[in-house]
């Protein structure tokens, strides 16, 4: 056990797998010599060589299509989009080929696509998005969003093991800011299972990614027992854990950093309304970013990303309903 940053945990997870299984290789832009734009793969090329840590041309198609073909041929690629926002350049191979190959042609595509996502540091519209709901909507893809260093390592290992295309949303704003205890040994965190970040019995707060920490802060500032459920995986999501929490508290706030309309919170809210109607003591509330691209200026970005005060306000409304 050691205290590690979120970034370090991811790096250790990948490195461990590459040492253990020579089918695992990394491909992306600037991942080799440079060690990755965020230094997640720092030192990797020195250890594993240029054919296992591949500096791809500036071509998301080459990366995504390349990873798909290699995976079909038995490799375990861990591909990277330098920023999650660039996944739109790889969309076709991810959605058209990788997502559908197992279902329609019986061919599994065991790839991991790492997506540094999220904002909070003036990254602007093209370096700050959280596109998990787009891909949660595509049958055949899995989407994981770890919040803690421990989960980050466990989930990257599970993602590499999983025979499906797994999109790994690593929140950039957590990379170095968040530290936690991480076991030294190899372990997996199950994909599709939520984690109770804080137990409570008056309000359920369902969230994932960096918003877990915002939720934590906000819960301290209200006079009520708030249960924070960290989904950890957005697709497939732990519906049972959410419904169990809602049954307990009867009041629920769904929080995500992604924009509101069609964000994954909508799916969660609709499911709660359908399946836990008679457990509700208040309408299901959602708190999310407004429906705009991510702004650049700090003043605007603060108005965009749900802040602790926003969450406190939403919780208070629910509590007093």
């Amino acid at each position: 056990m050691a205290e590690k940053t979120y970034l370090q945990a991811i790096s250790d997870g990948i490195r461990g797998e590459m040492r253990r299984d020579k089918r695992v290789f990394v491909i992306g832009e600037d991942v080799g010599v440079y060690g990755g734009a965020f230094k997640v793969t720092l030192g990797f090329q020195e250890e594993f060589g240029a054919w296992r840590v591949i500096d791809a041309p500036l071509s998301e198609t080459a990366i995504m299509g390349g990873a798909t073909g290699a995976a079909i041929m038995g490799m375990r690629p861990v591909a990277e989009m330098q920023f999650a926002d660039f996944v739109s350049c790889a969309w076709d191979h991810l959605v058209t080929v990788a997502a559908k190959q197992r279902w329609r042609a019986g061919t599994p595509v065991p790839i991991v696509l790492r997506l540094p996502s999220g904002g909070g540091f003036s990254g602007g519209p093209f370096h700050s998005q959280n596109p998990e709901s787009t891909f949660a909507h595509i049958p055949g893809l899995k989407c994981v969003c770890p919040a803690t260093p421990e989960d980050a390592k466990g989930l990257i290992i599970s993602a590499i093991e999983d025979p499906n295309p797994v999109l790994f949303f690593e929140h950039k704003h957590l990379y170095r800011r968040i530290k936690g205890e991480v076991p030294d040994e190899r372990y997996t965190t199950p994909i599709g299972k939520a984690r109770i970040h804080a137990e409570g019995d008056e309000v359920s707060l369902i969230t994932w990614g960096a918003m877990v920490y915002t939720a934590e802060e906000a819960a301290k500032q209200v006079d009520a027992s708030v249960e924070i459920v960290d989904l950890r995986t957005v697709m497939p999501w732990d519906k049972q854990a959410v419904l169990d929490s809602v049954r307990k508290t009867s009041k629920v706030l769904v929080l995500h950093e992604d924009t509101r309309t069609g964000g994954f919170g909508a799916e969660i809210a609709a499911t709660i309304a359908e399946e836990a109607f008679e457990d509700l003591d208040a309408p299901v509330k959602r708190l999310a970013a407004p429906d705009t691209p991510v702004p650049f200026s700090p003043v605007l970005e603060k108005a965009f990303i749900p802040q602790v005060d926003d969450v406190v306000g939403a919780l208070k409304e629910l509590i007093s309903y």
Binding site: G66, T68, I72, T96, W103, A105, P108, G140, P163
Partner: protein
């Protein structure tokens, strides 16, 4: 101003022997071409009888290119054939009854009714199922080559594209990556002169698409796509070069799409003279003549082959028609792969 090399037409039997093809191989090639055409002709009838849903595509006129390239592939090589390349499936050993079952959307088709047309592949035969977005499979084939390169295996990936699809970024990005990394990939461009109703002068501005290979750092070759032995020769050369670490080649096979884009298209936009001219170069007829002249194929052999093909296809059709419709209650199965799914030849 051509940059790519223009291939020689096929020559004598001696020429052919030097490439390792004996008489039996040649007759097999002929059979494969006949089965290819027969499957598609049969399918065409089935479609008009209302037995095949959706739409129906053929590669009439492309039999030499598809069979020629596939014959040059090694057992452990892989490929991503497209809808004009039925010859690749036949040559690699896909059974015609399964193709009919696929056409008819039956449970025993390779995709169990989940996809149609030629969107099928037998992974055990080294084939990857195509998608509608073209040429999306090209970068995927490059990825296969990447795996071979990483593992230092002597295997080659063959990527197909049409001349229209070569206008898309996927083709550029895939070939560029392959060229940069000198990956063991051979790119086949089936240039049949028409992308639906769009002629070549509206698809590209160079003289030959094979000229583009130079931009990616490798060789381009133009070959007569109706000359099966010429195609074979060039494909073999390129595949072995790739196998030996020589990097990719782009081979442009020229032919004419002898039917519409799909069965519902009567290709009114293609000048009649073009059809007439290329009908004289029918790849099967060309090869039949060559076999008569160069290896003394007899009437009996021809007859036998014809009967064999006919019986094969009739039996195949019956077997396919007995295959049940897929079960809707199984629709949700298999969206996600399980670890058991990784027990395939590719993941050995």
């Amino acid at each position: 101003m051509a940059i790519a090399r223009v291939a020689e037409p096929s020559g004598s039997l001696q020429d052919v022997k030097e490439q390792g093809l004996d008489r039996e191989d040649l007759l097999q090639i002929y059979r494969n071409m006949l089965v290819t055409r027969g499957v598609e002709e049969r399918g065409h009838i089935l479609y008009r009888q209302g037995k095949i849903p959706g739409s129906f595509y053929t590669g009439r006129g492309n039999e030499a290119s598809s069979v020629g390239v596939a014959t040059a592939m090694g057992t452990d090589d892989v490929g991503t054939p497209l809808h004009r390349d039925m010859g690749v499936h036949i040559t690699r050993g896909v059974e015609p009854w399964r193709i009919f079952a696929q056409y008819m959307g039956r449970a025993d088709g390779p995709t169990h009714g989940r996809d149609g047309n030629v969107h099928m592949a037998d992974a055990n035969l080294g084939l990857l199922a195509m998608v509608s977005h073209l040429p999306a499979m090209l970068p995927v084939a490059v990825g296969c080559g990447l795996a071979f390169r990483i593992r230092e295996e002597k295997r080659v990936a063959v990527a197909w594209s049409g001349e229209g699809a070569m206008a898309r970024g996927d083709a550029h990005e895939g070939m560029n990556f392959a060229g940069v990394r000198r990956l063991p990939v051979v790119f086949i461009c089936d240039n049949n002169q028409w992308a639906y109703s769009t002629p070549t002068h509206l698809e590209y501005a160079v003289e030959h698409l094979a000229d583009r290979a130079q931009a990616y750092g490798f060789e381009g070759v133009v070959v007569d796509g109706t000359d099966v032995l010429a195609v074979y020769r060039e494909a073999r050369r390129a595949i072995e070069k790739a196998r030996d670490g020589g990097g990719p080649t782009l081979i442009e096979c020229q032919t004419l799409r002898m039917e519409g884009h799909a069965v519902h298209d009567d290709a009114f936009y293609v000048p009649k003279e073009l059809f007439e001219r290329w009908a004289e170069r029918d790849p099967i007829e060309r090869f039949r003549s060559w076999l008569r002249d160069n290896v003394d194929m007899t009437d009996e052999e021809e007859q036998e082959t014809a009967s064999f093909v006919k019986k094969l296809l009739n039996d195949a059709l019956h077997r396919a028609e007995e295959s049940p419709q897929p079960d809707p209650s199984a629709l949700l199965e298999g969206v996600y792969a399980t670890p058991e799914d990784l027990d395939t030849p590719h993941h050995k």
